[in-house]
């Protein structure tokens, strides 16, 4: 007789409607993760009350924790559904709870509108400006220590976990979020990103920029890619202060 698991899911039919809970029960499979659960529920969407319901909407893509699409609150803590193993989740609590992320507008069930993540990246110009028709030649070489600093930051997959867990990232403020601070530092370290360094620091000095961080350091704890976000934040604090003073003195 195989083991069964109860899954409580917070559902919402449309962006403006209210939310409600439904419970499903299904057999545990070997190596099962939360995305598998949602897949199985989609096949036979019947609640524990025997009610046939619409399948639970959810996002997923890579299924190997590199795309960042499947972030949700699992047992109250934000993480990737595709890498959250049922076996481990049942050690945390006897039943699994799934909720959509709370810091982004809900679209339906576990799907949220993650646009703010990308708006933030646009605000800090998190790219290398290499468009155009003229050849630019070889970029400067990076020192090994810069490479070592930059590589971990480049693993960010814009999954939203750090923002979901950040107490300063909410509707009351327009904080860009820890990921964007870290990406600004990454592109300021890359030789190809250097031409926009000053504009990125300007963006970090804006309202909702680096100064909105309250140093709770939740971001670094929940980041599935172990990105040293608090190091980026402290670096950004220093660089933005120096940049702003220079700006002021140059006036």
């Amino acid at each position: 007789m195989s083991k069964r698991v109860k899954v409580n899911i917070k559902r919402q039919d449309s962006p403006d409607s209210g939310s409600y809970w439904q419970t499903f029960e299904l057999p545990v499979e070997d190596g099962m993760n939360v995305t598998t659960i949602l897949l199985r529920i989609a096949a036979t969407p019947t609640t524990t009350d025997g009610e046939k319901v619409a399948p639970v909407a959810y996002d997923a893509c890579c299924l190997e924790e590199v795309c960042g699409a499947c972030s949700m609150r699992i047992n109250g803590k934000v993480r990737q559904a595709c890498s959250a193993l049922v076996e481990n989740l049942l050690k945390e609590q006897p039943e699994i709870t799934l909720e959509p992320m709370t810091k982004f507008p809900n679209v339906r069930d576990l799907v949220v509108d993650r646009r703010r993540i990308f708006e933030s990246l646009k605000r800090v110009k998190a790219w290398a400006p290499i468009d155009g028709y003229t050849p630019r030649g070889e970029p400067d070489r990076m020192s090994p220590s810069d490479q070592e600093d930059a590589y971990p930051l480049s693993r960010c997959m814009s999954c939203g976990c750090c923002m979901e867990a950040c107490p300063q990232f909410n509707d009351k403020d327009d904080f860009i979020g820890p990921h964007a601070v870290s990406q600004a530092i990454l592109f300021n370290t890359l030789p190809a990103g250097k031409p926009l360094e000053s504009e990125r620091l300007d963006a970090l000095a804006e309202a909702g920029g680096i100064a909105a961080c309250g140093n709770a350091q939740n971001c670094v704890k929940v980041c599935p890619k172990d990105i040293p976000l608090t190091v980026s934040i402290a670096k950004a604090g220093r660089a933005t202060t120096i940049h702003s003073i220079k700006r002021f003195l140059a006036r």
Binding site: R73, A165, P167, G214, G237
Partner: protein, 243 residues
Amino acid sequence: MSSQTATTAISPREKYYFLARRLHSLTGLMFSGFVCFHLLINATVLTGGESFQFCVEKIHILEHMGILVPVEMATIFFPIAFHALFGIVILLTSQSNMKDYPYGGNIRYTLQRLSAVVILVFLTMHIWHMHWLGKPFGGAQFDPANATSTAAAAMQSWSLWAPIYAIGVAATVFHLANGIWTALITWGVTIGPRSQRVAGYCCVALGAVLFVAGLGAVRGFMTYSVADGNETAAVEQVEESGH
């Protein structure tokens, strides 16, 4: 290009946000410096009423120079007023989630905000209770000329003052120690996890010293015998022998 259009469309909130947050941090640090002196000087009461009176007289040399009030306003009053007012603005933008993410840093973040509210209430009571600014409202029980005995009398005038001051000291010392720790990150002084950890130990040590000093002072003033207070006589002797 875009930066140009951005500068023309910039709102005052945009323009001064970063500056205001940095000033908030700086004024927090300034006030922390004051609180360190304040608590340590108060604790001198434990070595006798004369020592505290002596320290107060030294500070009030500034009064004879006619600059006590301007110095007090510029280095203490305006900084903390700005810190408190802008601090309330910051409080309104935070959304604690300690229940879901009970990490050390998150707990300190939440306590930093909780202690700020406690300090807001305590500081108002304390200024009314002791400082001349409280005079129009029937407070201002501290008199620098008879520093030890008036402070002791003020502390002993109500049974709840001792616990209130103990809570006030605890909240202030936590806020100060944790505030210095975060300010070091804010200004980009401690960047890596290791330097932040070491800074954390230093802040805990500072906080422990100030907490003991602060509670010691409360105890000192509670147990000081107001009736046979002779601190002025003692100071006159000190000053005479010094001349």
